[in-house]
Symmetry: C2
Subunit: 368 residues, 2 copies
């Protein structure tokens, strides 16, 4: 492993995510020298001595390898450019799961909200997430009880891509009541954390984690939040990172929607009521200040409407026979087959034994 | 009765509320000459011949007198200046009930919405109306089933002032299922219409009526509306008249809230969730462009907080003994008594046999 990556992995164990001194040090001298100086521990850096004493990055990498996690750093293909552009980027991210992080979050929406959600909120979160996933958008959330869990499940239910960003290490499911859900996300989607394996989830890390959820996505949608909900912290980070924010309204008699209503009243969030409105919101964003420098044209941009709807009907990871795609699109079989051929030539779909799926995202087989 | 008033009463029978030709004629030659020309029926005015043939304004005034209704015209003390300022003012208004129209709508909010309201919407409408009425705001609506009826009832339930604006004559309750409610409003509040007694409610008159509801109030709040609800027409009139508009959110799974959500998304309405937020909305309005020319300072403006809360605790039409006011305000009796004395000297409250009420609004005892 290269020294830069190793040093960033070490930093993710030594320093808290938003440590201002370490951030400045990193900017000035780079990760390798930053770790050297923290190890030396002179002046204010002496505060890191207890952590330096117990630092064992090889062991952290071993733990990561055991759960199939890798360290992703700036400069990697898999490093999301969007994540490098937030006010305080992570030192690195630990990533667990079969998808490519950069590709997965390229078209992604954060769906977040209260842990103490109502049945209404959980239903809306699952429906929005499923709708987004069906249209090829990844759903990013925090794996918490309530809205987060419903959002992940909604995406998984339609075989969509979902990313859980944890406040502790990627090897420890938190909350433990969501161990099965998080395992499934690690198997089919991505589990991400900016803190090294073995790190416990702590209050400050939840708040730091929220900036990653907000920062790696094109926009954040709050489904239910009371006035003091942590998801309002995610909204704050999204605004600071220049992302658009949507909020789902609910009954004014429900305290669990009061935070959403307040964000809308304050003009910090746009009221959204459907998947289409969410895509309108984050689509605008893709076209404006957030990513102007990339100049990247995706093959599916500017597809004719028919081809776009056929592409939508083809799932990501499972495969469908032609007649199932035909049923979904409601167009004549020959028309659908021709569109699939065009999409195949664009590298957007692939055929195998008469079944069609979206071109799988690049998979990584080795850690780091 | 003066000729001007009589002529305007006649116009309200002859011409539809928003007849552009009659509006122009009225502006050019005044009401008396306008009626003369319509009676002459030359040129395009020939279209009024059937109505001229059956015109009997004395009879309309008799019908009005029988239900205790009067004709209010521009220049009357009871004529709301705000109503004269809308794009198409009424020729006159027929008014039934014990309150003074101008005083009653001076601090008023329109609470409107769908006829096919949900239990949630009806509860919210009643609660908002009661909250507004308790704080001395009149509640104006259209007496329809659903939200309108709940708004009127909410105001009546706390002994507040409420105004029903009908699309037909003030003597005919519409819908007939609300005959009892409308009778009660006529007894304790006001029933208003711009069309003469005997006029039937018709589709176009409902749309015209909505502009009066929007135009005579400081602001309009839509509680529930589907995308095609007539209350969105009231919103349009409120915006055209320069009034602020609030909309109450609801579950995105409820079609009956979809119109509210759309108004908020389009920036035509402000999301409101409580009586306080509604008063914030219409209070802003009172302080800005809508009524800048009046220069009128109301005695209760700028009251110290204690006196304002005591004034709030004193009802409009019933009277409360001192100890009941004390309980409501939760301040020592002597403090409350002193505040009542100050309010009495300002002419805001009145005492009788040890009970206190707000200074009754000027009552009219004769029609016209």
């Amino acid at each position: 492993m290269d020294a830069d990556r190793f040093a960033r992995a070490a930093l993710s164990r030594l320093a808290e995510p938003c440590d201002q001194e370490v951030r400045t040090l990193l900017d000035e001298v780079g990760p390798v020298e930053a770790v050297v100086r923290i190890r030396a521990g002179s002046g204010t850096l002496a505060r890191f001595r207890p952590r330096v004493a117990s630092l064992d990055t090889e062991r952290d990498l071993d733990i990561a390898a055991k759960v199939g996690a890798r360290v992703v750093v700036p400069g990697d293909d898999e490093w999301p450019e969007r994540l490098g552009g937030i006010p305080i980027p992570p030192y690195c991210v630990w990533v667990r799961g079969p998808l490519d992080l950069a590709e997965t979050v390229e078209r992604s929406v954060a769906v977040v909200g209260s842990r103490t959600a109502t049945a209404y909120g959980e239903q809306v979160a699952a429906d929005l997430a499923a709708g987004l996933a069906r249209r090829g958008w990844s759903v990013v959330s925090g794996a918490a009880f309530g809205i987060d869990g419903s959002a992940h499940r909604g995406a998984l239910a339609v075989d969509g891509a979902t990313v859980a960003v944890l406040a502790g290490g990627v090897e420890r499911p938190y909350p433990s009541g969501h161990a099965t859900l998080i395992s499934r996300i690690a198997r089919d989607g991505l589990v991400v954390s900016e803190v090294a394996p073995g790190s416990a989830p702590m209050k400050s890390r939840f708040l730091a984690r929220n900036r990653l959820i907000a920062g790696m996505t094109r926009g954040t949608v709050v489904v239910e939040a009371d006035l003091r909900s942590g998801s309002r912290n995610t909204v704050k980070h999204a605004i600071e990172a220049g992302r658009h924010v949507g909020a789902v309204p609910g009954p004014i008699t429900s305290m669990t929607s009061s935070g959403c209503h307040q964000e809308i009243r304050d003009g910090r969030a746009v009221l959204v009521t459907s998947t289409e409105e969410v895509i309108d919101l984050v689509g605008d964003l893709g076209a404006d200040a957030c990513e102007p420098a990339r100049g990247l044209v995706r093959p599916e941009d500017g597809l004719p409407p028919l081809d776009a709807s056929v592409l939508e009907a083809v799932p990501f990871r499972s495969a469908l026979p032609l007649d199932a795609v035909v049923r979904s699109v409601a167009q004549p079989p020959l028309v659908v087959r021709a569109a699939l051929g065009r999409l195949e030539r664009l590298g957007l779909v692939t055929e195998s034994a008469g079944t069609w799926r979206k071109r799988p995202q690049r998979r990584l087989t080795t850690a780091g």
